[in-house]
């Protein structure tokens, strides 16, 4: 048993090293003076906090990373909550309830997952400008609420919860909604957390739509701000600043993940109450 653990540990170590290599240089070089990039190598030979200073303070042409992080946080929170409120009940219905058009609706939903997102942009933009939401946070948020992936993931998970538990709750006098809320939701907690994390990441990293819909720092999200930042000076010479911005702006997500992952992996196995 010990040996197997060691084996697993070693395998993980190797994979992690491969995975961390780009991350490590990203982080290392974010502490290097810009010119280091030209000389290459694994570890920079000179160190500076200048890049981070620039990220935090430099409001080059009105683009402000701290402001963008605030925007992104607000947008992310609203989207995560919104997506969960919309997706969890719908996914449950798709997975467990019988109603006319269920499979039709579901596959229609799935189809849109397969459509390249870039195609929607013009129609969405028209819609948003019709609603006067161009260059607002709400304009960034709204289209992000209609994401299919959460439905897809949650539906698969809801299908795996043993029917007996639902039946037991019905016997206990639970209404349809109580079965959903008190039994299915807690049992699908790992999946719901997963969807929440995925939505949060998507929201934090989504680029194309926020780019198109936002024009001013008041509504710009982090990726947009970073891309504007990267447009700030000559590409090569600005490298380290971009790296610093990338690392700095992903810190909240890393923290979120560190907390969230326990929830994914500490779920309650839905079958453990069943003989």
């Amino acid at each position: 048993m010990r040996r197997k653990q060691t084996l697993r540990w070693t395998a993980l170590l190797v994979i992690s090293l491969l995975w961390i290599l780009p991350v490590a240089s990203l982080i290392l070089f974010s502490f290097a003076p810009p010119a280091e990039v030209l000389s290459g190598g694994i570890i920079p030979s000179d160190w500076t906090f200048g890049n981070y200073e620039k990220v935090v303070t430099d409001a080059g042409r009105g683009v402000s990373i701290p402001q963008a992080m605030w925007n992104s946080t607000v947008i992310m929170l609203v989207q995560v909550i919104g997506v969960l409120l919309l997706d969890v009940p719908a996914a449950y219905a798709f997975a467990r309830l019988r109603f006319w058009g269920r499979d039709l609706f579901f596959f229609a939903t799935l189809l849109t997952l397969m459509m390249p997102g870039i195609l929607e942009i013009i129609s969405l933009y028209e819609m948003m400008s019709g609603m006067g939401l161009v260059d607002t946070r709400m304009g960034v948020i709204l289209p992000g609420l209609a994401r299919v992936i959460g439905i897809f993931i949650l539906r698969q998970f809801f299908r795996q919860v043993p029917k007996e538990l639902e039946e037991a709750a019905r016997m206990d006098g639970a209404t349809n909604f109580q079965v959903f809320l008190r039994i299915m939701v807690p049992l699908a907690a790992p999946a719901i957390t997963t969807v929440a994390i995925i939505t949060a990441l998507y929201s934090w990293n989504n680029f194309l739509w926020p780019l198109v819909i936002t024009n001013t720092p008041g509504s710009m999200t982090v990726p947009v701000a970073v891309s504007y930042l990267s447009a700030d000076t000559s590409a090569v010479l600005n490298y380290t600043v971009i790296l610093a911005a990338a690392f700095f702006t992903s810190l909240p997500m890393i923290i979120l993940f560190l907390f969230g992952q326990r929830w994914i992996v500490q779920g309650m196995r839905p079958t453990s109450g069943i003989k």
Partner: protein, 356 residues
């Protein structure tokens, strides 16, 4: 008006027909036990009554009203699942109190009732555990607790005591009977335990392959089984059966093993009829030399302390079970002679139907 009526109820899973043409009427407050071989459809019936399984054909009435499509919640039934189906994310207390919580019972009352039930189930110390931290029997008790904490019209118990030790089982049996008496609720109970069936039931329903074989009180079924199956199923060890043809010759029976004697002779059908003779193991006694009605070689002796179960092989090649007194002087390989009380013999025709 009967509390619960099933009329021509049938159930199929796809092509597999598991319940056929089932009829039963249960009075309010009755205690009905379903017995039958594994896979005969007992659980399925319970689940149909609970409303968890669609009824393929026929009609189910509760309190006179057709309920085929009524939500489980509206039926006023509580059930102990054969598979327990505990909520893995709730503690024992949470599992038991869930139904009360849903009906907005005040917290203090829930707590009090949960504690009372837990005491009955002898698991007060486990209230904060999750199901995954319980032993099999403890889980089963939680499942029982979840059902009995409520006060439904109809209780459905699916082998609720199968994983409990004997002492606990006796206690639980008593508690359930008490509950039944107190609430006057209707109870439907599936068990494989003869003692349970016999002691608790007002009415036993014997099932086989999805069909009712006989419905009756415990003693009726024991003493007066309608057919071969019921006779074989009720009573332990199983009744012994001898195939024979009625003859007009010696003893009136053409059987390699059996000498019928006058008591049976009187009940026999016309000569030439093929019949089966059934004799309970308890009806045998060791014969004084010369009075043997049967002989056999002992092939197995089980001494249970209060009785000795003996298996014999007859010269005709039959295996015979007998229950003899604790100190009966039998040993493996002995050749012994047996007598039996002719008044306790049952006769069945070739289709297994009871003759006398």
């Amino acid at each position: 008006m009967a509390e619960l009526e099933l009329e021509n109820v049938g159930k199929s899973f796809g092509a597999v027909e598991v319940i056929r043409n089932f009829n039963l009427s249960v009075e309010e407050g009755e205690f009905v036990v379903f017995v039958g071989p594994s896979g005969c459809g007992k659980s399925t019936l319970l689940r149909m009554i609970a409303g968890l399984e669609d009824i393929t054909s026929g009609e189910l009435r509760i309190g006179g009203r057709k309920c085929n499509n009524v939500e489980p919640r509206e039926r006023g039934t509580a059930m102990v699942f054969q598979s327990y189906a505990l909520y893995p994310h709730m503690t024992v207390a949470g599992n038991m109190g869930f139904g009360l919580k849903l009906s907005r019972t005040p917290k203090a009352e829930i707590r009090e009732r949960v504690e009372r039930v837990a005491k009955v189930l002898q698991m007060e110390h486990l209230l904060d555990r999750k199901p995954s931290e319980l032993s099999g029997g403890q889980r089963q008790r939680v499942a029982i607790g979840r059902a009995i904490i409520r006060q439904p019209r109809v209780f459905l118990f699916d082998e609720p005591l199968s994983n409990l030790d004997a002492a606990l089982r006796v206690d639980m049996r008593m508690e359930l009977s008490k509950l039944h008496a107190e609430l006057g609720a209707t109870m439907i109970y599936v068990t494989h335990d003869q003692v349970e069936a016999m002691t608790m039931a007002d009415k036993i329903v014997v099932l086989k392959d999805g069909e009712v074989q006989q419905v009756g009180s415990p003693l009726e079924l024991y003493g007066n089984p309608a057919n071969l199956f019921v006779a074989g199923f009720i009573g332990s060890p199983k009744m012994n059966f001898f195939d024979a043809t009625v003859s007009s010759g010696r003893d009136g029976l053409d059987s390699p093993d059996l000498k019928a004697g006058p008591a049976i002779e009187a009940q026999l059908p016309p000569p030439g009829t093929e019949i089966t003779v059934g004799i309970r193991p308890q009806a045998f006694a060791l014969a004084e030399p010369g009075t043997e009605m049967l002989t056999g070689e002992v092939s197995l002796v089980e001494r249970l302390g209060d009785q000795t179960i003996t298996e014999l092989h007859t010269p005709g090649g039959k295996r015979l079970m007998t229950v003899l007194p604790p100190e009966a002087p039998v040993a493996m390989g002995d050749r012994v002679g047996l007598t039996f009380d002719p008044s306790k013999v049952l006769l069945f025709d070739a289709n297994g139907r009871r003759l006398a």
